[in-house]
């Protein structure tokens, strides 16, 4: 069920207006968001006027873009002019940007209808959305469970039918893991495929924006419309042209799927089972499976936490209370003001990572941590390069387990870090990966898998994902939100 093309058809055939559609979502958000906690800032007025503009176009007989008039949402770390952008941190409370992120500019031009900004772990640091200063987003399959993180709000909104699609960001799994926890599709594009301009930085060399949708086709459509070179982002690829949509249905028989054995270690039995079943499904579609070792993956987790925290410690230095956002009320000097603003404005997880990052970059520790991690990053990149010499895509689980109950992550940060083991290698190597449902656990929570591609082969992984989706039909709609 590809929602966007269906809705586009309804709009152009005047079965429903964009305003009516938008109002349905607004109504659903007003009813269900209290329980789901998917949205943290709402922009209904802007949404309705965008919808009206699209309706006017339709009425005048103009052709509209496939994404025009479709209600959607952005993670709260993407800059939206005039609409609060807080990264779910107290330190950015009240901050209304004066400029739009490039992804939002391009979607807005196409007539996208922004319902609001969605919940996330504070500054995208977390795997359960529980470090948000607004409280956690909940899993629409079962609200006792986390939606995952950090893009938990987007997953909850899309999985809970409170938005047609969402843009999330993925630094170490933040799109893929919540997508898998909530039973939807999430694409983490190649580093450099989508502009980061306007994405509030957590770890600049790892961050990437991508779509969260209820179908592979929708993911392809949204990705094709946000990808491409942006002169404002020097790290975006000037030569890349996204054309995943038209390649979705290519034949995959005879193609090869690689499986690194390290990815299959330490999994919950039901996750391992679902992953193996997915491989059988691909075999039935004519793909070949090859297994190999990738010992470098063992370093991925420490490498990720060292590099991400190092970059974060620098990226987050700008929050000092002087120019925007939260500022301590009582202070004695500039120094005192900055200290108090940060002490009061940042949450525990953010402070933990700033401290870690500052430590690994410090004189005397730099070589032992940061430099070593950089070298190992090179080894991981090389290992993936080698792997793609013998396969077209790689298949791996998204997490060793399914969504866990609320409150569990907070109690044990180290165990939570470890649950990122399957997702971080892709960010370290700058590769694209798509997460999609491949089964259901005994407790009813969705199990996800990811298909990993070589750089800028989004077309290939989306093609494989589409074929799998068509063959299995595992997408289930949750009992929330808009019923169409």
């Amino acid at each position: 069920m590809a929602k966007i093309s269906q809705l586009h058809k309804l709009l152009t055939e005047k079965e429903i207006s964009s305003r009516e559609l938008t109002e349905k979502y607004i109504e659903a958000i007003e009813r269900d968001n209290k329980e789901l906690g998917a949205y943290v800032h709402l922009s209904f007025d802007e949404a309705l006027s965008a919808a009206d503009a699209v309706d006017a176009k339709i009425a005048s007989g103009e052709e509209i873009h496939p994404l025009a008039g479709i209600p959607m949402t952005l993670k709260d770390n993407m800059s939206t002019k005039g609409i609060e952008t807080t990264c779910c941190s107290k330190i950015l409370s009240g901050y209304k940007p004066i400029y739009d992120a490039t992804v939002w500019t391009s979607l807005k031009e196409k007539g996208a209808v922004l319902l609001g900004k969605t919940n996330m772990d504070e500054f995208a640091m977390g795997s359960s959305c529980e470090t948000s200063c607004y409280g956690a987003a909940k899993n629409p399959r079962n609200t006792k469970f986390v939606a995952g993180g950090s893009s938990g709000g987007g997953a909850s909104a899309v999985g809970g039918n409170l938005a047609v699609y969402a843009l999330g960001s993925d630094t170490g799994g933040s799109i893929r893991q919540p997508a898998s926890f909530c039973g939807i599709v999430g694409l983490k594009p190649t580093y450099g495929a989508v502009s980061r301009f306007g994405l509030v930085a957590y770890a600049s060399s790892l961050d990437q924006i991508g779509p969260m949708t209820t179908s592979v086709e929708d993911a392809a459509l949204v990705f094709d419309n946000i990808a491409g070179f942006d002169k404002m982002d020097s790290t975006s690829n000037p030569d890349f042209k996204a054309d995943t949509f038209k390649n979705l249905n290519n034949d995959i028989s005879g193609k090869t799927i690689g499986v690194a054995k390290e990815y299959l270690e330490g999994l919950r039995p039901e996750v391992l089972k679902a992953t193996e079943e997915a491989l059988r499904t691909f075999e039935s579609l004519g793909a070949k499976i090859v297994y190999f070792d990738m010992p470098a993956l063992k370093f991925a987790l420490p490498v990720y936490y060292i590099l991400a925290c190092a970059e974060a410690s620098s990226n987050l230095g700008r929050y000092d209370g002087i120019r925007y956002g939260y500022k301590a009320e009582v202070y004695e000097s500039v120094h005192d003001m900055v200290c108090k603003t940060r002490s009061e404005g940042f949450g525990d997880e953010v402070k933990r990572r700033i401290l870690l990052g500052t430590y690994v970059l410090s004189a005397g520790y730099y070589d032992a941590y940061y430099k070593k991690a950089q070298n190992l990053r090179g080894a991981i990149v090389a290992a993936f390069n080698k792997a793609f010499e013998c396969c077209d895509v790689m298949l791996a689980p998204v997490a060793p387990h399914t969504a866990f109950e609320l409150g569990k992550a907070i109690s044990d940060p180290i165990e939570t870090y470890q649950s990122d083991i399957c997702t971080v290698p892709v960010n370290i190597a700058g590769l694209p990966a798509i997460s999609l449902p491949c089964g259901v656990a005994e407790d009813g929570m969705p199990i996800g898998m990811q298909l990993i591609g070589n750089k800028f082969t989004e077309s290939t992984i989306l093609n494989f994902a589409y074929k799998f989706e068509q063959a299995t039909n595992l997408m289930k709609s949750a009992d929330w939100g808009v019923k169409l």
């Binding site: 952008t85 400029y99 980061r196 404002m232 790290t235 700008r318 000092d320 970059l361 004189a363 730099y366």
Partner: protein
């Protein structure tokens, strides 16, 4: 004990690009606070820097003009520190892979002050303290800078002054900065230490920050040299620290000690890509460079037999040397042009600033025309001199003041007549000359010149007078 001064410079120079280093805001000096700003240069969350290619070109020019090697591969790093004038809490700079390395600046003595490196970076904003409150102005934030780091090769205050002047001269010549120390487009930090004469190890150094004039640099160094010498003489030790120089008291005082030194936690800026340069690109920048003052001066001395001092004067500012080059084009003896410029034109330019601007009414082509008349034997030097004065006043050409008659010269017969008349009219001068006063002849010469309306040749006249007086 006798001590020797050892100093090295860190010089920041603002580049004269139209736009800032990472965004398209203007670099213009001044402006109402925070009006030359955008989301990028005030570091709003989510913004990304984009390197202005012109900045790289200008830095390469600076490197080539100071004999540096240009790196084919370099990168930008983050220098992390927290201060209200630095909106991202890090300055984008270059740490271990600077654009230029291993250069030198040659002093007039021929001594080379080695340059360790030249790198590019962004400037910070400015704090404004007003009525007990502090405000921040980010107009200057993101203005491109180069930092030129010398080796500790400077051994005297004169060398220090000349080093700074030379840098200033070269950077202005190649047009990458106006290097105005007062406006802060050139700022110097001096690392200074002392050691017993003859010693080959370095003493503990102090760093004097942010000096804004050559006079202050000299005064601060003098003070600091004395202070360090006195300290050592009295059995004390120099502490490694960062100092500020107080213009009013003429003293240095401590800003922070070694233990308060920042740990900048440098790392590569992941928002910017590697700077790759090809030989062709560097060659293209090289070809765009004007002839540099040192080479120019050498050429003037060698090719035109101009004295070293005059050559220095003619090459001190780019506009002067360009004027000279243009005015001498096609002439047999450019030295005549040099003499006119240094003698008559320079005397009309009261200050160094006037000389640098070199705004005069006479065009180089007009001066060339005048000198050509001398070279062709049509007019004599004296007439040329008075004509040039009139030209400089009015902006008119030589031919507006010289008649056909003037160019006729003075024939032998007329010259003899003029000389005889002069001798007759000045018996006292003749007597003085005969009595051994060589100078007395000048009065007679003046008389002849007056009679010939400046057309007579002074050497010819002198010879004729001597002949007639006997």
């Amino acid at each position: 004990m006798k001590y020797e001064l050892v100093a090295g410079f860190e010089t920041h120079i603002e580049l004269a690009t139209k736009t800032k280093i990472f965004c398209s805001c203007t670099t213009e000096f001044g402006g109402d606070p925070n009006t030359h700003c955008c989301p990028v240069c005030i570091g709003l969350p989510g913004t990304l820097p984009k390197l202005n290619r012109k900045v790289v070109d200008y830095a390469i020019m600076a490197g080539l003009a100071t004999n540096c090697e240009i790196a084919r591969v370099s990168k930008m790093d983050r220098k992390n520190y927290c201060y209200p004038d630095l909106p991202k809490a890090y300055q984008i700079s270059q740490f271990d892979k600077p654009l230029c390395e291993h250069g030198y600046v040659e002093l007039s003595t021929g001594k080379k002050i080695r340059l360790a490196r030249i790198h590019i970076e962004e400037d910070a904003g400015k704090l404004i303290h007003k009525k007990g409150d502090t405000y921040v102005d980010y107009n200057r934030g993101g203005v491109p800078l180069i930092e030129i780091v010398s080796e500790p090769d400077i051994r005297s205050i004169d060398e220090a002054k000349e080093y700074v002047e030379k840098l200033q001269q070269v950077m202005r010549y190649i047009g990458i900065s106006d290097c105005k120390m007062q406006e802060g487009s050139m700022r110097c930090d001096v690392n200074i230490s002392v050691r017993p004469v003859g010693s080959d190890t370095f003493g503990t150094r102090t760093e004097i920050k942010n000096m804004n004039s050559i006079t202050n640099i000299a005064k601060a160094m003098e003070y600091e040299f004395e202070r360090q010498c006195d300290l050592l003489e009295s059995g004390g030790k120099v502490i490694q620290e960062t100092l500020r120089y107080d213009d009013a008291t003429g003293e240095t005082s401590s800003m922070r000690g070694k233990e308060d030194a920042h740990d900048y936690r440098y790392f590569r800026d992941p928002d910017l890509v590697t700077i790759l340069l090809t030989d062709e690109e560097i060659e293209a920048v090289k070809n765009s460079l004007p002839e540099l003052p040192t080479e120019k001066a050498k050429r003037y001395v060698e090719e035109f037999a101009i004295t070293d001092k005059d050559a220095q004067n003619l090459t001190k500012y780019r506009r002067i040397s360009e004027y000279f080059d243009k005015a001498s084009e096609g002439l047999k003896n450019p030295k005549t042009v040099a003499n006119f410029m240094i003698g008559q034109i320079f005397s009309r330019l009261a200050t160094e600033a006037d000389k640098e601007i070199f705004d005069i009414k006479t065009t180089p082509e007009q001066l060339r025309e005048l000198v050509k008349l001398i070279e062709d034997g049509k007019i004599k030097n004296n007439l040329a001199k008075t004509t040039l004065d009139k030209m400089l006043e009015s902006g008119k050409g030589a031919m507006d003041f010289i008649s056909e008659d003037d160019m006729g010269g003075v024939d032998e017969g007329a010259l003899t007549e003029f000389c005889k008349a002069a001798i007759e009219a000045n018996p006292n001068a003749v007597a003085d000359y005969k009595g051994g006063k060589e100078k007395a002849l000048m009065a007679l010469l003046g008389n002849v010149m007056k009679q010939s309306r400046g057309k007579a040749d002074a050497a010819q006249v002198t010879a004729k007078l001597k002949e007639l007086i006997g």
